[in-house]
Symmetry: C2
Subunit: 253 residues, 2 copies
């Protein structure tokens, strides 16, 4: 009898932000194929004897190639096993959850998808930065800062994006932040536009840097992985809340 | 002794998409002020004797005004109580969680924020529609379809947004969908651009309509509340997955 595949998001790194369904999926899985950015303690809920497979997914360095992951999911399910593919954050938002789901369904194997709390929203929120806010921002774009060379063409046009939304969240943007800031300015954003760089949220050594597009272009800021970058006037509002809550941050102007 | 306020997102309506921290907050609260779109069964986890207050939040009709909600939160916390403000979805994404947090902190009361699974991502995902996808979409904008008249000026410029991102998700767009579709076409999107209208997700009587911007402008589609509207080529990909999974949808072309 064929098993099944569950593709789940484990949230942004805090075990408390696992969903009830995700926890149940961890408890019930025979095989768990997990990414680097899942909450460290999440796997302690796996049952005794569950097979735990690390899939990696660091920028530019993967423990397993995507086709290996997919093959493993399908092979194990065909052995009758319940396979859990555990992504950090949400599995469809810059994970490969959708491609995996399509491949699994294409192999005739039942596939269940469990959404997760995405870092794109939860990381700013954990530092009290809203992405939309009445009177300040009615729209937020979530984009990737890196581009897959295999795509052939570039998708994120930061110049065009600059003034099309009120808030921009860049994921995986550490290595290209200078270029992105330049493009946003040439697209019409002021150099004074506030930027929050949120590094290692929900982990030890987390760090908040508040800066501006201009300071980034001037090379005053370096960004480490993993970071969520928030650009727009909402950052100023978040700063008010952070100060009221007595949260620490670094200012680089 | 002053109590505290917890502002939490209860996810998109499926009790299984509550986070562990949110569940714990429900169990531990003395007072729960809850919105209409939380999972129906979530409140059964409240402890005996907890005070449950319905805050409403239907389009255009609120059981409580926002300033009443904030006053209640602060008053109860000052009585030494643990107050849980329970939002549908994520509390900072088109909820008023940030404003509430700011008011609570401003009153000198400790405030904790618990991010939730947002409908903007989880609803499309529950119908196997990805918002970003390698080779198809590297950027998604999440916007509100309605505007608060008190804002004075309009924030979402759909004409400009049209070609600035690959995928657009409109929340609370039911009443203005025709106008939005027209603006997106005049901003450069083709009338054939696929649109998914996802109504009452995670509830009884949920419905998926796959259509196009052109068909919406032609008046062929009406949208009910609550709906999440996804615009972009990712819809076509989601359709493939839905068909493979044997999910039902209605096509209006």
């Amino acid at each position: 009898m064929v098993g099944k595949v569950v593709i789940a998001g484990a949230g942004p790194g805090d075990e408390g932000l696992l969903t009830l369904r995700c926890l149940e999926a961890i408890r019930g899985a025979d095989v768990i194929i997990y990414d680097r950015l899942i909450p460290r303690t999440a796997l302690r809920h796996a049952r005794n004897g569950a097979e735990l497979v690390f899939a990696g997914k660091e920028p530019g360095r993967h423990a397993m190639e995507e086709d290996e992951i997919i093959k493993l999911m399908i092979d194990k399910a065909r052995e009758g096993k319940v396979v859990l593919r555990l992504h950090g954050g949400d599995p469809f938002l810059f994970g490969r959850g959708f491609e995996e789901c399509l491949a699994v369904l294409g192999a005739g194997i039942p596939c269940e998808v469990i959404p997760g709390v995405t870092s794109a929203i939860a990381v700013p929120e954990s530092f009290l930065i809203p992405l939309v806010l009445r009177g300040v921002s009615s729209s937020v774009a979530i984009v990737t800062g890196t581009e897959d060379p295999s795509k052939g063409r570039r998708f994120v046009d930061f110049q065009r994006l600059a003034t099309a939304v009120n808030t921009i969240v860049v994921l995986m943007g550490a290595s290209r932040i200078g270029e992105i800031a330049r493009e946003l300015i040439s697209g019409g954003l002021k150099p004074e536009t506030p930027v929050a760089i949120l590094t290692r949220a929900f982990m030890e050594g987390n760090k908040v840097v508040i800066t501006t597009l201009g300071s980034i272009v001037a090379g005053k800021v370096t960004v480490e992985n993993p970071s969520v970058i928030v650009i727009g006037d909402v950052v100023q509002q978040g700063l008010r809340a952070m100060e009221m809550a007595g949260m620490k941050y670094e200012k680089v102007y």
